[in-house]
């Protein structure tokens, strides 16, 4: 831990906008940075340079915009959730429909952007990790579109509980490599992808799926996902006639939340809420709520809130949702947390499962179990707020992938 002489984390002065991060070393306040083996340093520098180069190139933006429009189907709509609002009996609930994106989640925004970066760097092989499988599918999709080789690392426990996504990845030509180490979930898949990259870094690009990892990944992924928040601002002005009062998103690594929040953080009137996986209980090992229960530490190349023991060993975590089942969180979320700009809270497995059913029956949408966490908080909160207020939920992904696992869990409960 830093010595007591280190100033407190984040105190943006009147001139410093909270969005003016990261710095040149990838710092979001005190968080972020690049804690990786030397073998990866050159590739991260190359990625940083390629990204700066691409940002300055109008042709890059034009190609990505064209793909986001014709391939992904953007912009995604903002939908008033009429029957869910009636159910809650308070503030209006609106959905930002990322679930309507090609491949069924926001993840494709990032994989197309990073795929184009890989092409610019002359790298023809792509590796990725995946938890829920949404990022794996989005990576396999981008690779099929661009003609790149694709290997996806996925924990064997997640392969079991997100089987439909595994099938999709394989159909699009990706190799899905099961990871049997550790808890056999997202964290172990990231470890394995990093190890692959250690030996393949000169010919391979690692498309990390969330706003985690060493600099410059948290910034690049946030930027590619920021289309969510930008479209939300436009749609709110057009469809609601004003900015929303509150915007909520689920947070595992935190990419849909970062993409939704980043364009909004300088709009001080908007309340921003990130919902973590509360799992079975608040006991260590029973949840995956790093910001709610963790402390600053280093995991997967950056400094951020992490769930770890007193010796720095990463804790085992649990969530019914494979995409939130992760002991760390993106460094920018830690920065927003300490700055008090975003509130972070958690929702239990059971609340998420109940909300999945509720939204399915009242709105005709199967939300991803990850998204169901944000929805659960939104329904509770809407019931406490007046009808003239609006809550926008980032409906980050569709829940078809979860249907079989939910049925299995329900059957187990029935058998108890």
């Amino acid at each position: 831990m830093p010595s007591p002489t280190v100033p407190p984390a984040v105190h943006p002065g009147p001139s410093a906008a909270i969005s003016e991060v990261p710095d040149a070393l990838g710092r979001f306040g005190r968080y972020g940075g690049r804690y990786v083996p030397e073998t990866l340093s050159a590739a991260l520098e190359q990625l940083q340079a390629a990204y700066e180069d691409a940002r300055a190139d109008p042709a890059f933006a034009a190609e990505l915009d064209q793909l986001l429009s014709a391939f992904v189907g953007r912009p995604t709509p903002l939908l008033f959730a009429r029957r869910l609002t009636e159910y809650a009996g308070g503030a209006q609930i609106w959905f930002k429909r990322e679930d309507l994106s090609h491949t069924g989640a926001h993840k494709i925004n990032n994989t197309l952007g990073q795929g184009l970066l890989a092409i610019r760097m002359g790298k023809k092989r792509i590796i990725a990790e995946t938890g829920a499988g949404q990022h794996g599918v989005a990576t396999a999709t981008a690779c099929a579109r661009f003609g790149l080789d694709c290997v996806v690392y996925m924990g064997s426990e997640d392969i079991r509980r997100q089987e439909p996504n595994v099938r999709s990845m394989r159909m699009m030509g990706a190799e899905v490599r099961p990871v049997e180490s550790g808890s056999r979930t997202l964290r172990d898949a990231i470890n394995e992808a990093m190890r692959d990259w250690m030996g393949s870094v000169e010919t391979t690009h690692y498309i990390i799926g969330s706003v985690v990892g060493p600099h410059p990944f948290p910034r690049i992924v946030r930027d590619f996902q920021s289309v969510i928040g930008q479209e939300t601002l436009l749609a709110c002005r057009r469809d609601i006639g004003r900015l929303p009062d509150c915007v909520v998103a689920c947070v595992g690594g935190g990419s849909n939340a970062a993409g939704m929040f980043y364009p909004l953080v300088d709009h001080a009137s908007i309340r921003l809420v990130g919902v973590e996986a509360g799992g079975r209980s608040a006991k260590p090992g029973d949840h995956a709520a790093s910001l709610s229960f963790g402390q600053p530490g280093i995991l997967h190349g950056s400094l951020s809130y992490v769930l770890q023991d007193a010796d720095g060993q990463t804790s085992d975590v649990h969530s019914v949702s494979a995409g939130l089942d992760y002991p760390g969180v993106g460094p920018e979320h830690s920065y927003w947390h300490d700055a008090g700009r975003v509130e972070y809270t958690s929702v239990t497995d059971e609340e998420a499962l109940e909300t999945f059913d509720l939204v399915a029956r009242r709105e005709g949408i199967l939300p991803a179990l990850e998204t169901s966490h944000a929805l659960a908080w939104a329904v509770k909160e809407a019931s406490r707020r007046p009808a003239n207020e609006t809550i926008v939920v980032c409906l980050s992904g569709r829940g078809d992938k979860d249907a079989a696992e939910i049925a299995r869990l329900r059957a187990l409960q029935g058998a108890d």
């Binding site: 940075g33 990786v36 550790g182 250690m198 000169e202 280093i298 010796d311």
Partner: protein
């Protein structure tokens, strides 16, 4: 030569005087348990190892291949703690003269607190640290604390490190410089990569500290070819695998006997090579 690498400098000077290159074995602390680790350290010392690198088990070691990962998992499952590590090193340093370094993730150092970790390391007699996930840009705080306490901070250069950066790393490494032979994770490999000899020779011109080669070195033949140009060889996965297998099959006596035999062969292979005509004085 700065004060901070004196224990290591003395070892390399003494080796050079005997026409011997350094064999630096890596073992995982707490695999199968810390009591055995202590016995293995004594066996390494007896076998003529120059330096012992003691790996601190970590739950998420991204630079390690399957063999070392598995040993970390076993050690953590057997109840490894940092308190146990420091106590074991304290016992070991009272019994052996061979310097002991720790190979430790920055995640672990950061969690304990940099100043506290360095103080604990000094108190138990560790000679230095290798921190494989701490690149140059993030290392100022630990570097300052280590220098102030006389602990070596051994830095790593890899095949993907650009020349200018390699020079900077070589200049800032204390104790010795760790030259990673291959781009990849730890683990035994059948062939040493092309260009390694030239790279080591070039690195030796960029630093006053000895240059040791690690990753993929496991056989006496590989130790002989590496030490024909480098000041020493680091052997990890092959030894860790052996300890794991012997622990599963033969018990503790078998472990120390097996380690002694294997490391003795490596030490013999690291004798001065008649065709190696460079100046052997470290710090020249």
């Amino acid at each position: 030569m700065s004060r901070d690498d004196q224990p290591l400098a003395a070892v390399f000077a003494s080796l050079a005087a005997r026409g011997q290159k350094a064999v630096a074995p890596f073992i995982t602390a707490g695999d199968p348990d810390l009591e055995t680790t202590l016995q293995v350290i004594e066996a390494l010392d007896r076998a003529g190892a120059a330096v012992c690198e003691l790996g601190v088990p970590y739950s998420d070691p991204i630079a390690d291949g399957p063999v070392i990962q598995a040993s970390y998992t076993r050690a953590l499952a057997a109840g490894f703690t940092l308190e146990g590590l420091f106590a074991t090193v304290k016992q070991a340093t009272s019994k052996v003269t061979m310097p002991i370094l720790t190979m430790v993730s920055y995640s672990i150092i950061y969690r304990r607190g940099i100043d506290r970790f360095v103080a604990d390391a000094v108190a138990c007699g560790l000679a230095g640290m290798v921190v494989p996930d701490l690149p140059l840009e993030e290392s100022d705080q630990l570097d300052t604390a280590a220098r102030a306490s006389g602990l070596a901070l051994v830095r790593l250069v890899t095949p993907t490190t650009p020349a200018g950066r390699a020079e900077e790393i070589a200049r800032r490494s204390t104790g010795f410089l760790y030259c990673v032979s291959v781009a990849g994770v730890t683990g035994a490999r059948s062939e040493l990569p092309d260009g390694l000899v030239e790279r080591v020779a070039w690195l030796r011109t960029k630093t006053d500290v000895p240059v040791l080669v690690g990753f993929g070195v496991s056989t006496p033949q590989q130790v002989a070819s590496v030490t024909a140009v480098a000041d020493g060889a680091i052997v990890g996965s092959a030894l860790v695998r052996r300890i794991g297998e012997l622990a599963a099959s033969g018990g503790k006596t078998a472990i120390t006997a097996g380690v002694t035999q294997y490391v003795s062969e490596l030490v013999t292979a690291a004798r001065f090579h008649p065709h190696d005509r460079r100046d052997h004085t470290p710090g020249n």
